[in-house]
């Protein structure tokens, strides 16, 4: 079987497994909705000051929820035997990494597709079609970068003592510049100001950098597992 077909098979297998167990999507969505409610009580949504922070509220919610999905990218594999089994299979480690990124990104995107409309309803926001497209593109690019670096770090931390906390300690600082760009673009769209395409280019640059780093470094992370270890 060629690597692209193996990639497709791995993604399909991940999606089917998720649809049977709801191991990532449900916890992510629950965290996201709870966070939206927490923010609603932390900052009164009816106050005018919220105008300045609503982009940040949306992105803090998405990032906290997505970190759960990224944490489950390998932790969902129980005692790690499944990952070892995958590495025994004739699958290139880079292909395995890209498949994990793809399936985790699909789950995170599905969570965002439910949470963003909920945010608009709960916080009484509205944007036009153009604004929705800007936010959609921004969410897709920012979350892809998040998942690309998150899956790599998750492969390191899932078996480590206190790994769930460590993942966030390592992941969030790396993503803060991309997070800042996403918040800025989203706030501009929500404020009705002109959106800046430079933010999208910056996010794209982050995505390519993180994906390239993951492609090159993933085999070093799983080196001790499987027959090539």
């Amino acid at each position: 079987m060629t690597q692209p077909r193996l990639f497709g098979a791995l993604v399909r297998w991940d999606v089917i497994r998720e649809l049977r167990r709801w191991n990532s999507l449900v916890p992510m969505a629950l965290i996201a909705f709870v966070t939206l409610f927490v923010f609603a009580f932390a900052v009164d949504p009816t106050r005018i000051e919220l105008q300045r922070s609503r982009g940040g509220i949306l992105w803090a919610t998405l990032l906290l929820a997505a970190s759960v999905g990224v944490d489950r990218a390998f932790r969902g594999d129980g005692d790690g035997r499944l990952l070892e089994a995958l590495l025994v299979a004739p699958v290139n480690r880079a292909t395995l990494y890209h498949a994990r990124v793809c399936s985790t990104f699909l789950f995170v995107l599905a969570m965002a597709a439910a949470v963003v409309p909920a945010f608009f309803v709960l916080y009484d926001q509205s944007v036009g079609v153009e604004g929705a497209l800007w936010i959609g593109a921004c969410a897709a690019l920012a979350l892809f970068g998040f998942v690309a670096v998150g899956v790599l770090l998750s492969a390191m931390t899932w078996s480590v003592r206190g790994g769930d906390v460590l993942l966030r300690v390592l992941l969030f600082p790396i993503l803060l510049p991309a997070f800042a760009a996403a918040v800025d673009l989203t706030s501009r769209v929500l404020d009705g100001r002109e959106a800046d395409s430079r933010a999208l280019l910056l996010l794209l640059a982050f995505d390519l950098t993180f994906l390239g780093a993951g492609h090159l470094l993933f085999e070093h992370v799983v080196k001790d597992l499987g027959p090539q270890g």
Partner: protein, 243 residues
């Protein structure tokens, strides 16, 4: 090649030699004293606009530049570890992260003190350079946390090296922060003149010597600790055999 093969130079008793480190540290201290002398006697006492508060820049800017150099070296050592699997590169990376964190902390503290004098507040979240340097500090604290969390000595250096490479992504961000993230409240240049430029350059050399001495000290200390741990493991093995 094992860790022992690449250990720092040792004395006849097998203890890591402290001599080169002491010479390095004393040289660095002499350079810092000379820098203080230059700052207090050679450069202008005040410049237009911000007065004498600019003097802290002779400590802040060299520390900031040296921070990025040290973290850049961590990235290089991490790549070399992954390529060669020589434990020396892992030990060097950890030592330079410790020195980098100290330099980073000095950069943040001196920057904060200057911000209070110039902007009348200790911290300005709108300043992308200040914020990106703080993010860099958090990242390398994460590097230390990662090293402390992984017990498996086969995995730990590999994971640390992977993260050492990833964290270096922030170095160009710090450099380009003002250009990419707008608002340029951070001063790009403070004062002009040959004595200011010369003192600044001297400051970079002095702080580079100082922070690399800190890294050498950490390397020396880690060498001693590894030897003690190896000796304790041998004692435990003998006790188990005789029990």
């Amino acid at each position: 090649m094992t860790a022992t093969d690449t250990a720092p130079s040792t004395t006849e008793s097998g203890r890591p030699a402290a001599g080169p480190f002491v010479v390095h540290a004393l040289g660095a201290l002499a350079l810092l004293v000379a820098l203080n002398w230059l700052v207090t006697t050679y450069v202008p006492f005040a410049v237009e606009g911000i007065g004498s508060s600019y003097l802290i820049m002779y400590y802040h800017v060299p520390s900031a530049i040296v921070t990025t150099l040290l973290y850049g070296f961590v990235c290089l050592a991490s790549i070399l570890y992954l390529v060669t699997r020589n434990r020396l590169w892992d030990r060097l990376a950890r030592a330079y992260v410790a020195a980098g964190l100290l330099a980073n902390a000095v950069t943040l503290l001196t920057g904060s003190v200057w911000a209070k004098a110039a902007w009348n507040h200790w911290w300005d979240w709108r300043d992308p350079r200040l914020t990106s340097v703080a993010i860099m500090f958090l990242m390398y604290l994460g590097y230390v946390a990662l090293n402390a969390s992984v017990d498996d000595e086969e995995k730990r250096p590999r994971y640390a090296a992977v993260f050492g490479i990833l964290a270096a992504i922030n170095i160009p961000i710090v450099k380009k922060a003002i250009e990419w993230f707008g608002m340029a409240s951070h001063p790009q240049k403070v004062g002009t003149g040959p004595e200011i430029t010369a003192t600044w350059t001297f400051g970079i050399v002095a702080f580079l010597a100082f922070y690399t001495a800190i890294a050498q000290w950490k390397l020396h200390r880690d060498g001693i600790r590894e030897r003690v741990e190896a000796a304790l493991a041998r004692v435990r093995k003998i006790e188990e055999a005789s029990a």
